[in-house]
């Protein structure tokens, strides 16, 4: 009798809880009367009416409701907290993945981003995410792919500093690159430079920038010859440099007719004594990545 009573009590307890009704809660399960959670909104993004290729939309529709059930809370799976927009930025963009060959998100290239491989079930990325749940719908996967391919922009108002998120070097003299034919350049990025060949360097920025008044005078390009590096640095003449704005967060700087004996090329952006780069919201580029606005970004290429 005591055993039966105990089992009945246990069974009662087993079925004694039910899910919340969701009354007075928003779609994230937060109280409606709690002032809206301060979520950065893309300046150029109209009110959300579905899945969009922006981090804000992906956060609201995928990361928070689905991924953060495991990648959130006390001890996020794989140390990867996706429960808020800021933590997603900090844990995804240019962060090493568990596969040494991939970044979790490599701006400009979904095919080389572990996140994209994970949600598409690519065999190089282990178990498909979300784990134990149905695969993401096609619209969500397409939005994430486009967001990464477009450069993994973060919202203008995110607390993350504006910075250069990726550089790619290629041999090309094309200066008509558009977001649609960037793939051609990426496919040529694995190169061995030969004397006098043109070089193009693509700079991705993590926020939409204001390039309206950018000229090549504001960019310092210098070269080093083969003999004594420090003694033979010289600035590459302006006529050998061209600047092409691919879109508001991607910049192409090309250098032509380089001397055959140079060993290193250096490009300096955001040099405070000349001119700084700012976002469309007026935020100055954090070129030296020290968490403070300002500072030069130095790109070096050894040839």
């Amino acid at each position: 009798m005591k055993i039966h009573l105990s089992i009945v009590l246990i069974l009662l307890a087993l079925t004694g809880c039910k899910a919340g009704s969701g009354e007075d809660l928003d779609e994230q399960g937060r109280p409606l009367d709690e002032a809206p959670v301060i979520e950065p909104i893309d300046v150029a993004t109209p009110p959300d009416d579905g899945m969009k290729a922006t981090l804000t939309s992906i956060q609201e529709n995928v990361f928070t409701p689905i991924c953060a059930t495991c990648h959130g809370g006390a001890n996020p799976a794989a140390g990867q907290d996706l429960s808020s927009l800021e933590s997603s930025i900090a844990n995804l963009i240019n962060i090493d993945s568990s596969n040494a060959l991939f970044k979790r998100v490599l701006p400009g290239s979904a095919a080389e981003s572990y996140l994209y491989l994970k949600i598409t079930g690519d065999s190089r990325a282990g178990a498909r995410m979300p784990l134990g749940q149905p695969a993401l719908d096609e619209a969500s996967i397409a939005a994430i792919k486009k967001w990464i391919d477009d450069g993994a922009l973060v919202p203008q108002s995110a607390s993350t500093m504006a910075k250069v998120s990726r550089t790619v070097t290629s041999m090309t003299n094309k200066t008509d690159l558009t977001p649609n034919n960037l793939d051609q350049l990426l496919s040529q990025s694995d190169y061995i430079w030969r004397d006098k060949e043109p070089l193009s360097i693509i700079f991705w920025f993590n926020k939409a920038m204001n390039f309206d008044h950018l000229t090549k005078d504001q960019i310092l390009v210098s070269a080093y010859n083969a003999n004594e590096i420090t003694a033979n640095q010289y600035f590459v003449p302006n006529k050998q440099v061209s600047v092409h704005v691919i879109n508001d967060h991607t910049l192409q700087i090309s250098v032509q007719n380089l001397a055959p004996n140079i060993t290193k090329l250096a490009i300096r952006l955001n040099e405070g004594s000349i001119s700084t780069l700012v976002t469309k919201m007026g935020e100055t580029l954090d070129g030296d990545d020290n968490g403070v606005e300002g500072g030069a970004f130095n790109y070096e290429l050894f040839l």
């Binding site: 105990s6 307890a13 919340g20 007075d24 809370g73 006390a74 794989a78 993945s97 568990s98 149905p134």
Partner: protein, 390 residues
Amino acid sequence: MVMIMASKVEHLIMNFSYKAFAVVVITIATIILSTLALSFSVQAEPYLAIKNNLKCAACHVNPNGGGLRNDFGKIYGQSILPSKANTFDSAKMAKLTQYLSIGADARFNANYQRNKEKTNNTSTGFAVESAQLYLHFKIPQTGLSFYFDEQVAPGSAINREAFVMYNFAGEDASQGSYLKAGKLFLPYGLRIEDDSAFIRQATGMNFDNSDNGVEYGLNLGQTTLNLYVANGTSQATNNNDSLLYGARLEHLFSLFRVGASAVLNDGDKQTLLLNLYAGTQFGDFGFLGEIDYITLEAANTFNQQDINQLVSLLEMNYQWRQGWNFKLTAEYLDTDTDVAENEQTRYSFITEYTPLSNIQLRFGMRVKQDIPQKPKQNYDVVFLQSHFYF
């Protein structure tokens, strides 16, 4: 009469939902107190350890359970667990040499899932859920050993555990004390197999989330104490300025066991995990319970206040006959105890049939419930799983 009863039960259930914490505490207390009062016949997954009133180390090379089975664990899986035992000696087969042994687990699933979205709300398919290979190498007569746990499927290989262990008492990890260093699954609460369980998901203490650190284990009779320090997160976001500190204490009484764990992840924002767990066996019925209380420092993005979470699991196992086990689990997750009506529940019914040594078939149904605003998180799952173990 039936309707009145049903109404009362419904009313009772409604009220219970508001007092879930109290219910779980009372239930675990009931388990413990009842076992003290009732007759009990002693007869691992944790339910097997509880059923046999043994420590995890009785069956597993890793003293905290999971992964490679030791000789006793292999014999148990070959001879005691299945309906029909094979005649070969799996423990002998797994020993490549006297000091080197191997093992494996492989789970293959057929799944059907349906959520509350208005469209595209079902999915069906087959999947290799996971496949692991284990290797254990012992240096003779030193107490020193190396353990390796690699997930080899699906996709590319992922290392789950890789550690060196030194047993101060020799080769028996269930006795004396030991020291482990390397990549570890940290000891915390009940180490159940289901990583999607709330208690494993919300705490992050699961088989998908090992960490780099050092663990000291002390066995004093029926009491086990684990103390550990780890990075606090397993991968690139690790903050090198802070560490995770944890402890687990468990005692096996003659009729039941109780344990408690505490973890402080001392990052920029601290995380505190506390839990209490227990288990006991009544005849053919086995019961497990765990409650976790989680404090996430300044996690509320609106007011920067701490968020407190409450998680629980209750599990009942019934061994119908040899090779057959029925499992019923109820889970509860309150993602913020200061917010009403945001709770989640999950109920599961699993049938485990082990027809032969080294192969187990599992049929399961799970009902996950969340607030209506999250249709994707309200879903039902039906799965059939084959589990090869060696």
